[in-house]
């Protein structure tokens, strides 16, 4: 390259406009804004703290369930309503392990409690992940590129999974008591901090950070991020995108299974249709965050959790629709979601 042309290409500063650069960070400010607004509207510090922790815990659990779905959406362009099946199945498999370790869950020992909870979570992830693999091959693969068929077929898969759960575990709801170390609360003055919610927040954060590490620091993560943007080009670079699809689908299903156990322990009761019930919130989070965006999904989940708890206290009649209103507001502001991925 000649010196002249080289310098010309070098000096062109590739800076986005100020509004664009600033606008990129605005979604990250929404969570603190929600926290401040919540405090101002609720008025009572202890109540606000309790509701905030509940909201964050709920948000983290939804994030765990939604993070896989957003990658599946972004990478494979698949509308997978069957995701709810993995949530339910994860909850039931986890419950089976926990209930069969009754002595350990009831023991007054953190180690024994963890000895029951961790295998329950692992079993839920393995079964949900394995079923995710079968689901992708048998149900999803034949309908790639056909959105209407995807909705019908994956919804059908969800219904079949629910009926299978009723067949295996029976039609009734199953109570799922939390292990001893996860019950109760820590009291700080007027504030009661429920232990399980704290653990949920910590686990959700760990999963979020782990996902960021995988996506940002590993070659597989790079491929997933690249595939979300332009799968065809990933293929043209010599990578078999189908293998990445399967990996993401299985990982997303496993995370949904983990989320199912967390949600089951949160509600302390599990039903065959719990996956479908939570799926509405999961879809709202995925849409608010921007399809394929893990960061957006995380922020969206926290907003949904906080809003559900704040409105549940301030305006109970509005609680049910508050998240729909949030989604409408976000989409009017940013039609592609809070942190959209620029797909090609």
């Amino acid at each position: 390259m000649t010196d002249q042309t080289a310098s010309q290409t070098e000096t062109a500063a590739p800076r986005a406009p100020l509004s664009e650069r600033f606008g990129k960070w605005v979604p990250y400010l929404l969570v603190p804004v929600f926290l401040i607004l919540g405090y101002l509207l609720i008025g009572s510090g202890p109540t606000w703290a309790t509701l905030t922790l509940a909201g964050l815990a709920m948000g983290m659990m939804i994030f765990v369930m939604a993070s896989g779905l957003t990658l599946v959406f972004g990478l494979m362009d698949i509308l997978n309503f069957g995701h709810g099946a993995f949530i339910s199945i994860g909850a039931f498999v986890g419950a089976t392990v926990l209930l069969s370790a009754g002595g350990w869950t009831g023991a007054d020992s953190v180690l024994l409690n963890l000895g029951a909870v961790l295998p329950a979570m692992l079993a839920a992830m393995m079964v949900a992940g394995g079923l995710g693999y079968v689901f992708e091959r048998v149900i999803v693969r034949p309908v790639y590129g056909a959105h209407l068929k995807q909705i019908l077929v994956t919804m059908g898969g969800l219904i079949v999974a629910e009926e299978l759960i009723r067949l295996i575990w029976g039609p009734d709801a199953i109570p799922l008591p939390r292990p001893e170390a996860f019950t109760g609360a820590w009291i700080f003055g007027m504030v009661a901090i429920e232990k399980y919610r704290v653990y949920s927040v910590i686990l959700g954060l760990i999963i979020f950070l782990a996902l960021l590490w995988v996506l940002g620091r590993t070659r597989t993560g790079l491929l997933i991020r690249a595939g979300v943007e332009n799968g065809e080009m990933v293929e043209a670079l010599g990578y078999r995108i189908r293998l990445i699809f399967i990996l993401v689908f299985v990982a997303g299903s496993a995370l949904a299974g983990l989320g199912g156990v967390m949600w089951g322990l949160y509600e302390q009761i599990i039903t065959a249709q719990m996956g479908l019930d939570v799926l509405v919130l999961v879809f709202i989070v995925v849409i608010i965050g921007g399809l394929g965006s893990v960061h957006g999904c995380f922020i969206g989940a926290l907003l949904v959790g906080l809003l559900a708890n704040y409105t549940g206290y301030l305006m109970p009649k509005l609680a049910l629709g508050s998240n729909i209103l949030l989604m409408v507001a976000v989409l009017m502001w940013r039609p592609q979601g809070l942190l959209p991925i620029n797909k090609q």
């Binding site: 390259m1 000649t2 002249q4 042309t5 080289a6 010309q8 290409t9 070098e10 062109a12 590739p14 800076r15 986005a16 070659r219 790079l222 491929l223 991020r225 690249a226 943007e229 332009n230 065809e232 080009m233 990933v234 293929e235 043209a236 670079l237 010599g238 990578y239 078999r240 995108i241 991925i341 620029n342 090609q344």
Partner: protein
Amino acid sequence: MPEPLLRLEGVHTHIGQYHILQGVDLDVPAGGLTMLLGRNGAGKTTTLRSIMGLWNPSQGRVVFDGTEIGGMGTADIARLGLAYVPENMGLFGNLTVQENMVLAARKGPMDNARLDWIFELFPALKKFWRLPAGNLSGGQKQMLAIARAISEPRRLLLIDEPTKGLAPSIVEALIEAFLDLKRSETTILLVEQNFRMACAVGDSVAVMDDGQIVHTGAMSELAENEALQQRLLGLSLDTHQ
């Protein structure tokens, strides 16, 4: 006469109900730069995409170095040593320049000497190494797209209209880069609308019209023959200099 590195024999490609390629016959000799010229809609992009397996030919043969690649998956074709730079560059805008390059070097960490050579070709990439590719200017994006294609030694580069929408100074830079690439004996099939660039870098030329190859020969021959240019491309060299 030596066997060409790439040969297309009677290739037909349909996109939906449209019959785009209608029997393309094309030879790309090893070690040279073959220009693929033609009016808009002639089928140039479809030809490149058919070679890469991004659109499967419905009929005909695509043979790369003796191996039939028509109908193979795109990843498998790429693994044979073909690299593709699409018209829209196909960059991953949310990934940094470095991450784009790391992904392109599929066989492992990039060779430092090769990276230095790429930085010599495109100095801007070194400067913006850790910047998201989406933040680069149009010319820098094009340079990154080509750099990504040559991040590992390739046997054949397929490049689709790299100068489209670029300032003349950037086009000059790209011409220099292509001349350097030619010196490295990389085989290139280059689709281009910029006739001046075609004359500057092309060794041989194939002209397409209505989904068929209507002329093949030496680029210098077409550059010197204005009547032929008028007939094949509807232009004269003077108006495009």
